[in-house]
């Protein structure tokens, strides 16, 4: 069965420091992978996605993620964190269409706190 694991429930970084949020997935075929961000009281905003091709994916707000099939990982990175990046981050895996369903399976999320 498909699953997504985000090992870090809570991460605190200083403003200006680099960031890496971990995501591991379990999927039988080539996965379709996403990172979403959720600010308090808000819905989910797509940061970036991977379908195929270049394994280093650029997203909005200066985020990037690297797909590593050998490690079943899709870690999110940002070289310099801003205070406004404080939010909850979700990794998700999508269907390849074989099940005829477009559902996303989400990890439990990582809460990012940014220290001034």
């Amino acid at each position: 069965a498909q699953s997504v694991t985000q090992p870090d429930i809570h991460i605190t970084v200083s403003e200006g420091a680099s960031l890496e949020l971990r995501c591991n997935y379990s999927y039988g075929a080539t996965p379709y992978l996403f990172w979403y961000v959720q600010s308090p009281g808000q819905g989910l905003q797509l940061l970036l996605k991977y379908f195929s091709g270049d394994t280093l994916v650029q997203g909005i707000k200066g985020f990037e993620a690297e797909f590593k099939m050998s490690q079943s990982s899709f870690n999110l990175r940002k070289p310099s964190v801003h205070w406004s990046d404080a939010a909850e981050y979700f990794c998700a895996v999508g269907s390849d269409g074989s099940s005829n369903t477009g559902k996303l399976i989400f990890g439990q999320g990582t809460t990012l706190q940014v220290k001034p």
């Binding site: 009281g41 819905g43 797509l46 979700f90 099940s99 369903t101 477009g102 999320g109």
Partner: protein
């Protein structure tokens, strides 16, 4: 263009009552999905509808039902509410029938349901 809209924003119900949540997709999007997000967890897939037909159903009891209208808006209905139904209910829309594979799901701000 307007994004995905959901109503109401907040809702308080008591156990045993019925609730209807509404979602309007982005103009031109034909697929609507519903997710339940319990506090501290990632969203869980409930339903997907495409062209007014159910395309997928998550592991939720029959108390949960949904439908999609000719204008592609959607309703999620929950009968016989339980305390455990308290959650943020998210609606997402996309162009394609299989949004997880080849398309992007855009999320609304959610409806916060509290069951007392």
């Amino acid at each position: 263009d307007a994004g995905v809209t959901q109503s109401p924003t907040h809702l308080i119900k008591t156990r045993g009552q019925h609730v209807t949540l509404r979602c309007s997709p982005i103009s031109g999007h034909k697929s609507v999905s519903w997710y339940q997000q319990v506090l501290g967890q990632g969203p869980q897939f409930i339903f997907q509808y495409y062209e007014k037909e159910e395309r997928g159903r998550g592991n939720f009891p029959d108390r949960f039902s949904a439908r999609q209208f000719p204008n592609y808006s959607s309703e999620l209905n929950v009968n016989a509410l339980l305390l455990g139904d308290s959650a943020l209910y998210l609606c997402a829309s996309s162009l394609a029938a299989i949004p997880g594979a080849t398309d992007t799901q855009y999320f609304g701000p959610g409806t916060r349901l509290t069951v007392l």
